[in-house]
């Protein structure tokens, strides 16, 4: 893109498509674009690291998380089993988190990662609407995200109204309603 600088006017170079981070790294840094990763010196001095352990997290193999997702839990969404204890409060500590919870949190991390790839590519496309690489990436990611959201709804609870509608379509007996199942997003470590 040709660009000229002029007096009395700000100029920012337009970003060129470049190297991308894989999804786990992208989320943890805050961008998929290596070129926009500009850390702060105080964030380099590490005070310790959060181990983001997810058994399925293998670099370079982002799509194959399903097999590693052990013990899918029955959230009661299918309407077969009712009366399961929902972890609502803050009583349980992370250490005691059941395998089910770990599986759910692991899959939630995947949802966040893929959601974030879209968040970042969306803004890139807003200013690069003709970019072939970006468009290709967008198409693939949209598809993966849709599949993952459906799977999360089937195993745990729906994150969107669309996922809920899909549960109802597949199982009209479903008694799943969005707000009742699963923790609220801000509950964090306790649920």
């Amino acid at each position: 893109m040709e660009r000229q600088e002029h007096l009395a006017m700000a100029s920012i170079p337009v970003q060129q498509w470049g190297e991308l981070y894989e999804q786990a790294r992208a989320l943890s840094i805050g961008t998929i674009f290596r070129d926009l990763d500009k850390p702060f010196f105080a964030s380099e001095e590490e005070f310790g690291n959060i181990p983001r352990s997810c058994p399925s997290q293998r670099p370079g193999d982002p799509g194959q998380f399903e097999e590693a997702m052990n013990a899918p839990e029955d959230c009661g969404c299918g309407g077969q089993k009712e009366g399961q204890s929902e972890s609502g409060g803050c009583a349980e500590q992370t250490q005691n988190a059941s395998q089910q919870q770990q599986g759910r949190e692991c899959m939630m991390l995947q949802v966040m990662e893929i959601g974030f790839l879209l968040d970042d590519i969306r803004l890139y496309m807003d200013t690069h609407p003709q970019d072939e690489n970006g468009l290709q990436f967008l198409k693939q990611t949209v598809q993966r995200r849709r599949q993952l959201l459906q799977e999360f709804a089937g195993r745990y609870y729906p994150l969107t109204m669309d996922c809920m509608a899909q549960l109802y379509e597949e199982n009209p007996e479903s008694k799943c309603y969005c707000w009742e199942k699963g923790p609220m997003p801000w509950e964090g470590a306790c649920v």
């Binding site: 805050g30 803050c90 959601g115």
Partner: protein, 204 residues
């Protein structure tokens, strides 16, 4: 129109109560360079933007800022959810507690309430986009300051993520400014205001 997705954009898992840190971080909720200000600023500026794709970008960034506000709120909530009266008193969280208990309320670190006075929607594309470039830098500076002061990695990780987003948004607003400039005369970008002087724009 907006649709909610029941998750955070970035995970927040804070296990320790710390009202002192909550008092600092709440500034990115209701402070002058906070996420609420950012969202309202971009969503307000959209309507009169002359370039469609720039309105689109403002919509998308304004929406992402809402998700950032939710991250900040989740952090404040988790830092105070097991708060005791003694902890509130010792950490200087008592004044907040008197007015809001543990409820979330947008204010700056120094206690000033959230105010629309602190953000701009000027009705001039060049002015507003330049404003947004500065706003992203101001927010980044706040995250820098927080990162110098806070040592707990549970709190630092989301702050580092949010800091990077400010840099990415700065780049996008810069590109939006370039796009807007393309529709104007490079000999004099200030000959008319593309958001107001329609006739001048048509004749140009």
């Amino acid at each position: 129109m907006w649709i909610y997705e029941k998750r955070l954009q970035y995970p927040v898992k804070i296990t320790k109560t710390c009202p002192k840190t909550a008092r600092l971080i709440i500034s990115q909720y209701g402070g002058p360079d906070g996420e609420l200000s950012a969202s309202m600023r971009y969503l307000a500026q959209r309507y009169t933007m002359p370039v469609k794709s720039v309105s689109g970008l403002l919509t998308d960034i304004g929406t992402e800022e809402l998700a950032h506000m939710e991250i900040i709120c989740a952090m404040v909530y988790q830092l105070t959810r097991n708060l005791t009266i003694e902890e509130a008193r010792e950490a200087g969280f008592d004044a907040y507690y008197i007015d809001h208990t543990k409820g979330l309320w947008p204010q700056a670190a120094a206690g000033l309430p959230f105010s629309a006075v602190e953000f701009q929607s000027k009705g001039d594309a060049i002015t507003d986009l330049t404003e947004n470039l500065a706003a992203e830098q101001k927010a980044r500076t706040v995250y820098d300051n927080l990162l110098r002061m806070i040592t707990d990695p549970e709190i630092r990780e989301p702050l580092k993520f949010l800091r990077t987003r400010e840099i990415v948004h700065f780049q996008r607003f810069g590109e939006a400014l370039e796009k807007t400039k393309e529709t104007l005369d490079a000999k004099n970008y200030y000959y008319f205001n593309p958001e107001f002087d329609q006739r001048a724009a048509d004749h140009h």
